[in-house]
C-alpha cells in the first residue's frame, strides 16, 4: 500500500493540487489557482524523474508505472503547464477563470491515467475523466459557437466512449481478466479480439482524432477558446496514443489488426492534410493538420510489439508534437484566428515569426527540428514492422504537409501595412520561447536522453 502510494506520487500530488485549486477558485482567487497549478505540475514533474526507469505496476497490475507512463508524465506535465499559461493569457479576468485551470489539471490527471492504464477500468476512467473535463472546457465561453462545439464534442465523445466500454466487455469475456497484460489469452479468439479492438479504436481513436472519428476536432477547436483548443489538441491526443501503446502492446498481432490500423493511419494523414489545404481559418487549419499528425503517430502504434523502437517513436514524436503544436497555437493567439491575420507577422514581430517558422517546419518534418526526429523514428518503426508502404505514404504526405504549412509561412513574410502590434504579454512569450526552444533543441538532444 505504502509502496503503491509512493509510486503514485505524481498523480496524487496532482489530484491534491486540483482539489486545492478548486478551493482557491471558491474564493475567486484565480491567480492563486494558477500558482497552485503550476507549482504542482513542476513538483509532479520532479517526482517523476526518479521513476523513469521503473518497470512495475501498482494496485495489482491495474496501473502501470513503466517507461511509457514515466515519459508520458514528462511530456504531459510540462505541456499542461504551458497550456495553463496560454489559458491565462487568453482568459485572465474572465468569470470562472480559476475553474478552467482546475479543469485543465483534472483533465491532465485523466491523461496520466490513460498513459498508465494497465487495466480496462483505468482506461475507462481515463477516457471519461479526460472526456468530461474537455467537454466542459470547450463549452466554457457559453456562447453560441462554444456550446455548439461542446455539444458536438460531447456527442461524439459519449457515443464512442460508450461503444468502447461495450467492446471492452468482450475482451473481459475472452481473456477472463480486465488486465491488459492478460490480453495474450485472446490468441485464437479472433472474433472477440476484433470486437474489442474495434471498440478501442473507436474510443481512443476519437480522442486521438483519427479518421473516421475526427469530425469533432475542427469544430471543437474552433468553438473553444484557442488555449483550450491547443491544450486538447496536444495533451488528450498524446495521452490517447500512450493508451494505445499500453493496450495494444500485449495484444496478439493476429487477425490483421496492424494492417487495419495502418490503413487508418494512411487515411488519417492524407485526409487531414487535404482538408487543411483548403482552410482559411487558422484554428481549423491547425486542427486538420493535427488530425494528420495523428496519422503519423499511429504509425508507431502499428509497429507495436514487433519493432523495439515503436514505443520510443511514439514518445518522441508525441513530445515533439506537444511542443510544436502548442507553440503554433500560441502564435495564433498572438496573431489572430484567420489566415489573413498572419500577413506580415514575420516582419512586425520578427521573433514570433521565427518561432512560428520553426514550429511549422518542425510539423512538416524538416531536420534538425524535433518533429523530424520523431518522424524518422516513426518511419523506422513502420519499416521495421514491415510497413514500408505506410512509410512511403507518410513521406509522400510530407509534401502535402509542406503545402499546408507553407500556406502559413508565405504570408508571414509578405509585407503588410505597418502598425505597432500590441504587446503579447509575458505568459505567451514564455510559452512560445519554451516550445520553440524545445522544438529546436530537443531534436538533437532527444537521442541522448533515451535509454
Amino acid at each position: 500500500m505504502g509502496r503503491d502510494l509512493a509510486l503514485l506520487g505524481p498523480e496524487l500530488l496532482l489530484a491534491g493540487a486540483a482539489m486545492l485549486m478548486i478551493v482557491a477558485e471558491m474564493a475567486r482567487a484565480a491567480r492563486l489557482v494558477l500558482a497552485i497549478g503550476l507549482t504542482a505540475l513542476a513538483l509532479s514533474t520532479a517526482l517523476t524523474l526518479p521513476m523513469l526507469d521503473a518497470e512495475t505496476s501498482v494496485f495489482g497490475g491495474t496501473y502501470r508505472i513503466d517507461a511509457i507512463a514515466g515519459w508520458a508524465k514528462l511530456i504531459l506535465l510540462p505541456g499542461t503547464a504551458l497550456a495553463l499559461l496560454m489559458a491565462r493569457a487568453e482568459i485572465a479576468g474572465r468569470d470562472r477563470e480559476g475553474s478552467v485551470y482546475a479543469l485543465i489539471v483534472l483533465v491532465t490527471l485523466g491523461a496520466l491515467m490513460l498513459s498508465g492504464a494497465g487495466d480496462m477500468m483505468v482506461l475507462v476512467i481515463g477516457v471519461v475523466l479526460t472526456g468530461l473535463g474537455s467537454f466542459a472546457l470547450v463549452a466554457y465561453p457559453r456562447d453560441d459557437a462554444a456550446t455548439e462545439a461542446g455539444m458536438k464534442y460531447l456527442v461524439f465523445g459519449s457515443v464512442t466512449g460508450s461503444v468502447m466500454i461495450y467492446g471492452l466487455t468482450f475482451w473481459f469475456g475472452g481473456a477472463g481478466s480486465t488486465l491488459f497484460s492478460e490480453l495474450g489469452q485472446l490468441r485464437g479468439q479472433t472474433l472477440v479480439l476484433i470486437a474489442g479492438l474495434i471498440a478501442v479504436i473507436a474510443g481512443l481513436g476519437y480522442k486521438a482524432a483519427l479518421v473516421p472519428f475526427h469530425f469533432w476536432a475542427p469544430d471543437a477547436y474552433d468553438g473553444a477558446p484557442v488555449s483550450v483548443a491547443a491544450y486538447l489538441s496536444v495533451i488528450t491526443k498524446a495521452a490517447a496514443f500512450f493508451a494505445f501503446a499500453q493496450v495494444l502492446r500485449d495484444l496478439p498481432r493476429e487477425a490483421g489488426w496492424p494492417v487495419a490500423l495502418a490503413l487508418i493511419s494512411a487515411a488519417t494523414m492524407t485526409y487531414g492534410y487535404l482538408a487543411a489545404l483548403v482552410q482559411t481559418n487558422l484554428v481549423r487549419l491547425i486542427a486538420y493538420s493535427s488530425v494528420a499528425q495523428s496519422g503519423y503517430l499511429l504509425m508507431g502504434v502499428v509497429a507495436l510489439g514487433v519493432s523495439p523502437i515503436a514505443v520510443p517513436a511514439i514518445l518522441i514524436f508525441a513530445a515533439a508534437y506537444v511542443a510544436m503544436n502548442l507553440g503554433a497555437f500560441a502564435v495564433i493567439m498572438v496573431a489572430g484566428r484567420s489566415l489573413a491575420d498572419l500577413e506580415g507577422i514575420g516582419r512586425s514581430r520578427p521573433w514570433f515569426g521565427v518561432a512560428m517558422v520553426v514550429f511549422l517546419l518542425s510539423l512538416t518534418g524538416i531536420p534538425p527540428l524535433f518533429g523530424f526526429v520523431g518522424k524518422v523514428y516513426l518511419f523506422m518503426a513502420a519499416v521495421e514492422a514491415g510497413f514500408l508502404w505506410l512509410a512511403v505514404i507518410g513521406i509522400l504526405n510530407s509534401v502535402l504537409a509542406l503545402g499546408v504549412y507553407l500556406r502559413m509561412v508565405v504570408p508571414m513574410y509578405r509585407t503588410a501595412e505597418a502598425g505597432a502590434p500590441d504587446p503579447a504579454g509575458l505568459p505567451l512569450a514564455t510559452v512560445i520561447a519554451a516550445t520553440a526552444g524545445a522544438t529546436l533543441g530537443l531534436g538533437v538532444l532527444a537521442g541522448m536522453f533515451l535509454p
Binding site: D119, M120, M121, V124, I125, V128, L132, F135, A136, A139, R142, D143, D144, A145, A146, T147, E148, A149, G150, M151, K152, L154, V155, S158, V159, G161, S162, V163, I165, Y166, L168, T169, F170, F172, G173, G176, S177, T178, L179, P218, D219, D222, G223, Q279, T280, N281, R284
Partner: protein, 103 residues
Amino acid sequence: MIPELMIALSVGAALFGVGLYGALSQTNLVMILMGVELVLASALVNTVAFWRYLHPDVTAAKMYVLIVMAVMALEMAVGFGIAVARFRARGSVEMEEARELKG
C-alpha cells in the same frame, strides 16, 4: 457455449444496437444521450453475463460494473450541463441547428 450466456449476450447486443441506432439517428441532444445510456446498459449486461457464466471468480467484473454505472451518471450530468448551456445560448438542443462551425 452456455445458452444463458448467449441469451444474455443477445440481450446486450440488442440493447447496444437500439442504443447506437438511437444515438446516431436522433437529432436532439437529450435523445442522443438516451441512446448512449442504452449502449452503456448493454455493456453492463455483457459484463454481468460474462462474470456470471464464464468467470465467476473475477471480482474485477463487479468493479467494472460499478465504474460503468458511475460513467453513465457522470456523462449524463455533464451532458445535461452542456445541454442547459446550449439551451441558454441558442434556445434549442437540436444537432441539426448546430451549423455555426463548419469548413
